[in-house]
């Protein structure tokens, strides 16, 4: 902790203060982890035992059947939901990364007339609340005949609608020396080739960060699929989860098991790409302050 730094202290006091530090860290960790542990514990409880009060924190006995029941519920094709979520997340993210970086390249590395104006326009769209876009977009997609398809959840992301990513990548591209472009131009390369073969290959960190942000937002998106899809066959996991709840009662064990299953892939992604993630947040320009 910043305020705990500074000054040399005797060893015993340092030991004592380290104990306090760990105690505080663990306390915070427990607060953060309890709800999550509760989710896991409930998913492993024998159906019926989730209603016991006071609750058992550790499931006795541990059963896995909730997971099987959650994915084989009649009328609720869990694997189809998963497939929809995967398709949307992958194609929308691919579009986001390709388009945002392409556009960012133009803003960062080509000095064309009107550039600053359009960049300010782009930045101002960052402040636009989603709800303002929601109604007119719905009407637009209705005119296009895209309602009850997955297109509204994918296509806009091939057109850089999330200006934040363009901004983030543009900031990164600007740190790459322009001499690289000039040298490549001398060698007869086109700008498209410079984008693809010079700039992109050395932009791993920012592309990694954008990939993670994008995957998380599409995988977790609820409102979009709620509004644009109706058919059971087109439901995403986020939307499908809602149907574990009904007026007659909620099957908490299955719901928690399904939640864990939905959480697992993004947890894996988070752990494997953690360093991009933290760096991505630093890259927003607030890191060095």
């Amino acid at each position: 902790m910043g305020v705990l730094r500074g000054g040399l202290r005797p060893f015993s006091s340092a030991l004592a203060s380290n104990t306090v530090r760990y105690a505080l860290l663990i306390l915070g960790g427990v607060i953060c982890f309890i709800p999550l542990g509760w989710m896991l514990s409930t998913s492993l409880k024998m159906p019926g035992t989730e209603f016991i009060f006071p609750p058992n924190l550790i499931p006795r006995p541990v059963v896995w059947s909730n997971y099987i029941d959650a994915v084989t519920r009649p009328g609720h094709p869990f694997f189809l939901y998963t497939r929809n979520s995967v398709v949307i997340t992958l194609t929308a993210t691919l579009g986001t990364v390709l388009t945002s970086s392409f556009v960012a390249f133009g803003f960062a590395r080509i000095r064309f007339r009107g550039r600053d104006f359009w960049f300010i326009v782009l930045l101002s769209t960052l402040m636009l609340p989603d709800v303002v876009r929601l109604i007119p977009s719905f009407i637009l997609f209705r005119i296009l005949g895209w309602i009850d398809t997955l297109l509204p959840l994918i296509v806009p992301f091939w057109f850089g609608v999330n200006a934040f990513y363009v901004f983030l990548i543009r900031q990164y591209f600007r740190t790459i020396p322009l001499e690289l472009d000039e040298a490549a131009l001398m060698d007869g390369a086109t700008y498209v080739r410079i984008y693809w073969q010079v700039v992109l290959p050395i932009s791993g960190p920012v592309l990694g960060a954008v990939t993670i942000f994008s995957v998380l937002s599409h995988w977790n998106d609820f409102l979009g699929s709620l509004i644009y899809t109706n058919s059971v066959d087109l439901r995403t996991l986020a939307l499908g989860l809602r149907f574990f709840m009904s007026r007659t009662g909620t099957d908490w064990n299955q719901l928690m098991a399904a939640s864990i299953l939905m959480l697992a892939p993004i947890l894996a992604l988070f752990f494997s790409m953690q360093r991009y993630f933290i760096r991505g947040i630093h890259m927003t320009g607030f890191g060095g302050r």
Partner: protein
Amino acid sequence: MLGTRTQLRRDVLGYMFIAPWLVGFIVFTAGPMVGLVYLAFTRYPVLSPPTFNGLDNLDRMLGDRFFTISLWNTAYFTFLGVPAQVVWALMLALLLNMRVYGVNIFRTLYYLPTIIPGVASVFLWMYIFNPDYGLANYILSFFGIPGQAWLWDPELSKPSLIIMELWRVGTMMVVFLAGLQGVPQSLYDAAAIDGAGRIAQFRHVTVPMITPLIFFNLVVGIISSFQIFTAAYIATQGGPVHTTLFYVLFVYRHAFENLRMGYASLLAWVLFFIILVFTLVQFRMARIWVFYEVD
């Protein structure tokens, strides 16, 4: 000076690169926004085309009890919730900024709740807040406090949602952590030489140095808090007695359940202006309290 032809080539190239965004901006943002202005003055039941009805929607809005209720609920949730989030996130960031062995493990742990899908998190908290067998009442029982109805109690429904959101302050926390790590040690050393204790160092060094981040988190937090939807839609459906009828839920119901797109368009515009005004006011106020380093 560049030749005109070189500049022209650059212009063409530049617009070629930004074309995907430019097309998207016109089709998916600017066009719809213009459409939304028009729709705000129409009656549009979706299944038949919009018909102009002048200021009827505005008239309706000003007399709509639920408009006022949803604004109040949203304001309550935002102005109590966001400051709480900022304070809690800063506390967690201060903990994570301590130089102890293994602190990275805690950084991951503290961030975990934030990547949980919103829907899953809402369900989890519905279960935790369950009045009959929930964890929250179990924890209260340790302190001898009787069980509460939480989300189902009109007095507690909004505070319960605020608690729920507090659990997911990871993004704010990481922003603060990055800022804390950027405060130069030399400032602390200088303050220590001047006889400043830990608390004085925190007040006079740490806080001023991270005011830009407090500001950033407040602005972003308020914008997103104004738009709370999923939790209220799933967990409370606006209840009990409309205490969690938040603004976006109110707009959603008119647009997609009652099929009053015209009225909903006006409501969407109003939210946009409210957010805009609040953001501008904050930028104004920032001049007084936010400290920027002079480069």
